[in-house]
Amino acid sequence: MGNNNGMDTHIQDKAQVRLKGGKDGFRVTLDPTLPKDYVEGELTRLFNQLKHLAFNSRVVLDVGKTEGHQEIIESLSLFLKNKYNVESVSVPQREHNMNEDKPQKLDMSNTWHQHHTDALVIAGRVRSGQKIIARKHLVILGDVNPGSELIAGGDILIMGNLSGTALAGQPDNEEAIILAIGFKPIQIQIGGVIAAGLPVTSVPALEFAHVENGGIVVEDYIKTNPFGRLTWPVVR
């Protein structure tokens, strides 16, 4: 596929609605000839993955040629503004569209360079009675003993056994996950959803918990590969 024909390239891609993070916000690339319901469904799926990040963000809606698609652009920008409180929805600059691929890559790496980490990384064993509170993500390199408590605004990732209590996505981020190599917590909570008395797997496996249809589901991380379907890496 030719690089000079950017828009056709996207149409033939598997993901027909794509989301990319950029320096100035998010860029949504889609085919305007797709059914509106399908596009809205895909947008919901993509934006749900970055729920709190979407808030007040600037979105660029790239439908290829703008001419003749004003209607769908307007309806989708209304949709995004209402549902995800994005600050603005605009169409891409023309020259930006011409050689899209190269500047985008630069933009992405710049984003990560400038991104100050929100993760609290802790090494060692967390013991009974200890409580670790992280503003956003929490990474523990070590075991988490029963009787201890982890609280995070975002994800909780444990490179070891989780046998204590873990509260991710506090207070209301139900997109957060809890990941551990030995997943045997006393209780977990994601956003406002609580799960206790989870079945214990005897063999250590990389498992993660997430919210699905209002309940907490624990699945094998390798098999499920929950972020594998993201076409482009995004900052969590």
Partner: protein, 266 residues
Amino acid sequence: MEGKVIVITSGKGGVGKTTATAAIGAALALEGKQVAVVDMDIGLRNLDVVMGLENRIVFTIVDAVKGKCKVKQAAIKDRRIENLHLIPASQSDNKDVLNPDDMVQFCKELRKEFDFVLLDCPAGIERGFENSVAPADEAVLICTPEISSVRDADRVIGLLHARSITPKLIVNRIVPEMVASGDMLSHEDVVEVLSIDLLGLVPMDTQVIISTNTGVPLVLQKDSEAGLAFRRIAMRLNGQIDLPIEIPQTLKSFWKRVGLKIGIGK
């Protein structure tokens, strides 16, 4: 040289702190050290009974700390084991009569007279625990192979860490048959959760009950496996750190027992 102050603690009650204190104290005294064992469980004293010295109490730790008597007067000398002294707790007060500063001061005096000062910490993590831990240089953590005990021990490790003390672990009351059949946590399981250095493993032993009831020191009973284990623990505390840790076995072969006796070398 100043003596060492070692607190013997567990968090949970009934895991064998007092028995261990009495046994390790007696074993250290048999090694020829000047030993004071101090009952910190004010209001619920037990150590005097376990050591068979209850009818000789005149002054208590509260009297000694408050300056009503001299340290020498409060320290009861054991008649069977030379160099072993007990400073009993008061039964009529409660834990609030002492504070951590008092104890630091008091232990400063004890250090001058004794090579080892063993503090028998009460259960719990309140005032009695704070009083016992404040003056300590080292800590010995007693834990039984039960989940509840391990949980509490884990908490205590965290509290001791806040005071820059890393305790050493004794796993008490191991029943090798139950470990072998998978009905009891093994000492490896306990160490895996607690991840601290092991000081010794003590098997379940009915002799302990006899010893507690009669007041005869456990380490003086020749056929007590727990007594032997405590003597080995005392040797490690006394500087023989490379003494291998004996794992309680189901098979009590003749040669094994002979080996144990030689190992003790008394």
